[in-house]
Assembly symmetry: C2
Homo-oligomer: 214 residues x 2
């Protein structure tokens, strides 16, 4: 981590390889935003270091530093990117219900899917007993498999919202990328696999992956 604020007008995305920060990273490239990236080493605990806690007291990634302040929580960062770079058309604009569908989808990813995944390595957040933490880890293939089943059933078009790419797509891509590591075989999920391949092929995705060392 080498945080710098030398250019106060330039956004800085704090993220980490393999983290959900990839979604915001991709979205910023889709938006053609001018930003720099700071990669944290989560295994080394940089997210809990004083330097980073001064930026994001929650000690988590991602965080997006802007001249107006630091924004956290992936659904909020994605919505902010979409709204700020409206010309990139990364979210529905005039249809309030379609726009709410985007928030609903991203909220589900954050509150249910990401939380299910976190019980694999972050069980200590919710219990102290090592046996309990191990019991949580064991259930992750099932809970993430259930999430994959729901997500598969909800995908009908090429993109999450149908015909138009939105900031929900890099977020889904990021979490689907965790499934195999979580013990979920991807074979039954043809739509999720096709979606993953579509997002993976986009230049913004390839650039974000290259920059985050993935």
């Amino acid at each position: 981590m080498a945080p710098t604020r030398s250019d106060a007008d330039r956004w800085i995305l704090y993220t980490a390889p393999g983290s959900c920060g990839l979604a915001a990273h991709i979205a910023l490239h889709e938006a053609h935003a001018d930003f720099s990236v700071v990669l944290l080493d989560l295994a080394a605990g940089q997210q809990k270091g004083a330097d980073y806690l001064a930026i994001n007291p929650k000690g988590r990634v991602p965080a997006l530093a802007t001249p107006q302040g630091v924004l956290t929580e992936t659904p909020a960062i994605l919505a902010f990117v979409a709204r700020t770079f409206a010309r990139a058309a990364l979210a529905p604009r005039d249809d309030a219900f379609a726009w709410a569908r985007l928030l609903e989808f991203n909220s589900y990813l954050a509150s249910t899917v990401h939380v299910a995944h976190a019980h694999k390595r972050r069980g200590a957040r919710w219990a102290d007993d090592p046996a309990a933490i191990e019991a949580m880890r064991r259930k992750v293939p099932q809970t993430m498999g259930d999430c994959a089943t729901r997500l598969e059933a909800g995908l009908s078009g090429p993109w999450v919202l149908g015909e138009h790419y939105s900031v929900a797509d890099p977020y889904l891509f990021t979490l689907v990328g965790w499934l195999e590591g979580d013990g979920v075989a991807l074979e039954p999920f043809a739509r999720l696999r096709a979606h993953f391949a579509r997002v993976a092929a986009r230049p913004a995705t390839r650039r974000a992956l290259a920059e985050s060392g993935a």
Copy 2:
């Protein structure tokens, strides 16, 4: 539960006493929306019944049925209510960053605070072993206490966003209302208590509480 769709143009909020659906319920009254309420009996498992699963396959509350479809996830419902009833001024409109702060706050409540709370009674979502579920339950006073500490530190004005009430306020009110039951003494949290009292005194809150049998 007695779901009805006799008036296709009227919104229906599906919620349950004591659930996070209270936030949307209050927000709809703040917006002076025309809607009806269907209360589910969670203890009786109505949220997992075929009638309700046809409305919300996730088997959770809240769900907001509208002529355009059923919307779930509290942060999405709250944002949709604020946008649809713009005259009620329940969210920042022109300041994109302030608007993102609202989404960030609600996303934190959904993904961290509500999730911490859910480990008290819903531990079976994340582990099968009864001892593990009990270990999760034991940690809830600590995790919810940590959340309360963070929320207290973040409150500076009378409302979550400062001088103006927004849909973040009934959501915070709802989750702060869970703290004592989660084993967190409210005494150290003067700002949260004052905020809770301010929201509790509003007519929309009193009406929602009366209608949800709380």
